[in-house]
């Protein structure tokens, strides 16, 4: 048996609203970086639901009424929502809405009868497609970002069709929030 497994994740992703929930009396569920953490406070042990490999970040979580399923919305090629079983940590369903322009689902809610899931798509966000928590290699110093020339190789997943060139300079018009995506304190990010 070899290979690395996650044992403990520090930090919490504070960019998401309502990102902490009780699963049972001792277990809480929250988002840290690109993972959903189920933390047992009595045993001080964490279990994880990792974000999809292709996605950039988790944008929203919602727990159903009987705490059996958690819906995790992620920003990937488009917005995608995965529903996981909180006991087995297995993926139960994937929801994709083709007509969405947006990549972000900023809020979700289960109905009380657990039959229906409500999702709110955010702003059209193609311009903010920057590498972040998903990629450990992308931890660039924030202050150096606006003017420094960034070789394209530093951004393996950042595809800018036609614009990508070795000496690509960050446009000054990039919205400020692009530079503050590294808020989470998990070990790949700091």
């Amino acid at each position: 048996m070899s290979g690395l497994t996650h044992r403990f994740l520090f930090g919490v992703n504070a960019e998401i609203s309502s990102n902490i929930h009780f699963i049972d009396d001792s277990t809480i569920l929250y988002v840290a970086g690109h993972n959903v953490v189920l933390y047992d406070q009595l045993e001080a042990r964490q279990k994880f639901i990792h974000g999809a490999e292709k996605s950039e970040k988790i944008t929203s979580v919602a727990l159903c009424e009987h705490k059996k399923y958690v819906a995790v919305a992620e920003r990937g090629e488009g917005a995608m929502i995965n529903v996981y079983n909180t006991k087995t940590l297995r993926k139960y369903k994937t929801l994709v809405y083709e007509k969405w322009v947006t990549k972000d689902v900023i809020a979700m809610a289960f109905s009380n009868d657990n039959q229906t899931l409500l999702t709110l798509g955010g702003e059209e966000a193609r311009h903010s497609a920057m590498p972040n928590c998903a990629m450990p290699n992308s931890a660039m110093p924030n202050s150096a970002m606006p003017n420094s020339a960034m070789p394209n190789s530093a951004m393996p997943n950042y595809t800018m069709p036609n614009y990508a060139m070795p000496n690509y300079t960050m446009p000054m018009c990039m919205p400020p929030f692009v530079h503050t995506v590294h808020k989470c304190a998990c070990s790949p990010c700091v």
Partner: protein
Amino acid sequence: MTPFVHTCVPTGSPDWTVVCWNWNKSKALAAVQVSESSPCSSVSFSPLDASVIAVTGTEKVSFYRLDTAANNLRPIPSTPTTVTALCHVWLKVPSDHLVIGTDTGSILVYDKSTYLTSLKESPVNLLNPADPLNPEAEQSTENGCTVDR
């Protein structure tokens, strides 16, 4: 080679679309664009009537009814508002009231889709005590709410 200084990124119209799913079947039941440009921040179902949903955000407090037969979300006429809602929660008792916290520090109560009252104990009122020249604002109902409609 001159590096690009500006980048034109084609952007579609802003989205702000609420989608209702039957998540067991991975099927989108209904979708509606809830806002043209003003940001929305949260959605939720009424705890008592699973067909009523509330959407709040910047200058937005609106309600929709999910029609599962026709598979659409229809807006419920509601009191127009200019407040910026930061968060909201539904109450089950005495009926499905929606309580909204705003960026000015007031807490508003909606009964289904009609504006009912703002709470006297809102942070905005605690910081700025009521105007003595306007004692009517102090008038309180039995449940501790100030009615200023």
